[in-house]
């Protein structure tokens, strides 16, 4: 199976690999997937006082498409408001990375990770969790 150039680029030069301080109130952490399934994503957002995502980091255990999906997600998240971030759909990721059908689950996982990070941030700040965060 050949990877798209965009997947190869994100895999070779991943954007925003790293860790934010999860104990901080303005940091939301989403950890999704399972080692047994072959992919685990951890995506973190830092939200500034204006409610804008000022930083995003990821670490991913998984195939190239999973790494690329999470790398792309962090790129997209930076500078977005929470509401804009919620609107990111896994099919946007599929389209941008030209993921083949067998790799769609990687984009689903990335969307789940975004929603889980937002939920973590919301709960920390006394807001109700999003409904239907999971596919």
């Amino acid at each position: 199976m050949a990877y798209s150039e965009k997947v190869i680029d994100h895999y070779s030069n991943p954007k925003n690999v790293g860790t934010l301080d999860k104990s901080k109130n303005n940091v939301g952490t989403g950890l999704v997937g399972a080692p047994e399934c072959g992919d685990v994503m951890r995506l973190q957002i830092e939200v500034n006082e204006e409610g804008v995502i000022s930083d995003a980091k990821f670490k991913t255990f998984g195939c190239g498409s999973a790494i690329a999906s999470s790398s792309l997600a962090t790129e997209w998240l930076k500078g977005k408001s929470i509401d804009e971030a919620i609107a990111i759909d896994n099919m946007d990721i599929v389209e941008e990375l030209n993921l083949p059908p067998v790799k769609i689950h990687c984009s689903v996982l990335a969307e789940d990770a975004i929603k889980a990070a937002i939920n973590d941030y919301r709960i920390k700040n006394g807001l109700p969790a999003l409904e239907e965060a999971k596919h």
């Binding site: 255990f61 195939c63 190239g64 790494i67 689950h105 789940d112």
Partner: protein, 406 residues
């Protein structure tokens, strides 16, 4: 010499053809194109003579009589013919077959097919090092058992089963012993007499011969074994496998077998050194584990899990330059990781993180050095971006986390 990329380290999938084999085959596509069954003219005679000679070469490699070699299209067909053929031929004696969970799909799926036709099949579990438990094997034998089907060397982990002990148990209980010798024949000494093998499947393309030609060894005396043909037609191959003989393929198979016989000792010694260098180099990495028995193993194979990185992601780091296969799900159409590794008791996480290396006749030390470096670099890079590695380093027990299975 400059290192030429890509490097091929997937010789358990298939081997490149030895140029000497190709050279021997070529006249049989053009000048000597005859049908080996044409008994009435020189074209047929030439083909028949070439087949006879190749049959001797193939038989010599495994210590068999040429009459005991049934040419097939490959090892899968030979597995099917051996197992289904015995099930049909010995139906009056019983319907029980014993095999094991790490067999190739050509054996497992054949057994599953026979279950639908009334066979009772015991799938023995293997020990954590991939070896058969001989006591469990003997205990599984009943008065209905007609066949034990245990492979010689495993395709994924290279583990070599104790065939002499298995055949002794089979003999003691008057049960036939079939072995899939695909990965072992041509690589390590296999002798059907000394090993007590009654039937054996093997193929040319794993030993530097052409694809599309394999063989089933069927013992002719002590005991005389017969299989029911699975393909009907002109009665070729002593009526056990009809179909016009693939003369160029057979000629190539013969030549490949002859080269293996002559060069096996030196080649396996050389590959063992290279394999050990590769293995020791990669096992220097923290949290990397060898899969399968360390000693009872094919000399050109190793299988290593790199914990906290995923196999397909790992391959992507170098698969433009190094051809390898992974036990991970994502590389194949199915979503399950390697059933062989799972049969050893590996968790899905380790099974997903494994690489299989198959060295071969044309593998060089420079290639091994390059491979150790490329894989080590990729493992380290991916661990830097692995959340599991970070947790491991922080001392978090990954089993204590409630993972969301999807």
């Amino acid at each position: 010499m400059e290192l030429k990329l890509p490097i091929y380290l997937d010789n358990n999938a298939t081997t490149p053809m030895d140029p000497r084999v190709l050279e021997t085959m070529l006249p049989y596509f053009t000048d000597n194109f005859g049908n080996a069954a044409s008994r009435n003219h020189p074209f047929g005679w030439a083909a028949e003579e070439a087949v006879d000679y190749a049959r001797e070469q193939v038989a010599n490699l495994i210590g068999a009589d040429p009459k005991e070699i049934i040419f097939t299209s490959g090892a899968t067909e030979a597995d099917n013919l051996g197992i289904k053929g015995i099930f049909e031929m010995y139906a009056s004696k019983g319907n029980h077959i014993i095999t094991c969970t790490t067999e190739h799909k050509a054996v497992l799926d054949t057994c599953k097919h026979l279950e639908k036709l009334g066979a009772q099949v015991t799938y023995l579990e293997v020990l954590p090092d991939g070896m058969i438990d001989l006591a469990a094997l003997e205990n599984a034998i009943t008065d209905k058992t007609i066949l034990i089907a245990i492979m010689y060397g495993n395709n994924e982990i290279g583990v070599v089963q104790p065939v002499k002990e298995i055949s002794a148990i089979a003999r003691k209980h008057n049960v036939l012993f079939f072995t899939d010798g695909t990965q072992a024949v041509g690589k390590i000494p296999v002798d059907v007499i000394a090993d007590g093998i009654d039937l054996m499947a093997f193929t040319a393309h794993k030993m530097y011969g052409p694809k599309g030609i394999g063989a089933l060894y069927v013992r002719r005396k002590n005991p005389r074994v017969k299989v029911t043909a699975q393909m009907d037609g002109g009665g070729h191959e002593r009526s056990m496998r009809s179909g016009t003989l693939n003369v160029p393929g057979i000629v190539g198979f013969g030549k490949a077998a002859e080269i293996c016989k002559n060069e096996m000792a030196a080649e396996s010694a050389r590959l063992r050194i290279l394999r050990d260098k590769l293995e020791n180099g990669l096992l220097q990495l923290e949290e990397s584990y060898l899969n399968g028995h360390k000693e009872n193993r094919l000399p050109h194979t190793t299988n290593i899990s790199f914990k906290y990185v995923e196999g397909e992601g790992l391959l992507m780091g170098f698969n433009k330059n190094i051809a390898l296969s992974s036990g991970s799900a994502c590389t194949s159409a199915s979503l399950e990781p390697s059933y062989v590794l799972k049969a050893l008791g590996l968790g899905d996480d380790l099974a997903h993180s494994s690489l299989r290396f198959g060295l071969g006749r044309f593998t060089t030390e420079e290639q091994i050095d390059y491979t150790i470096k490329a894989i080590s670099d990729t493992v380290n890079k991916l661990r830097e971006m692995s959340p599991l590695w970070e947790m491991f380093k922080e001392g978090i027990d990954l089993n204590s986390i409630e993972w969301a299975h999807h």
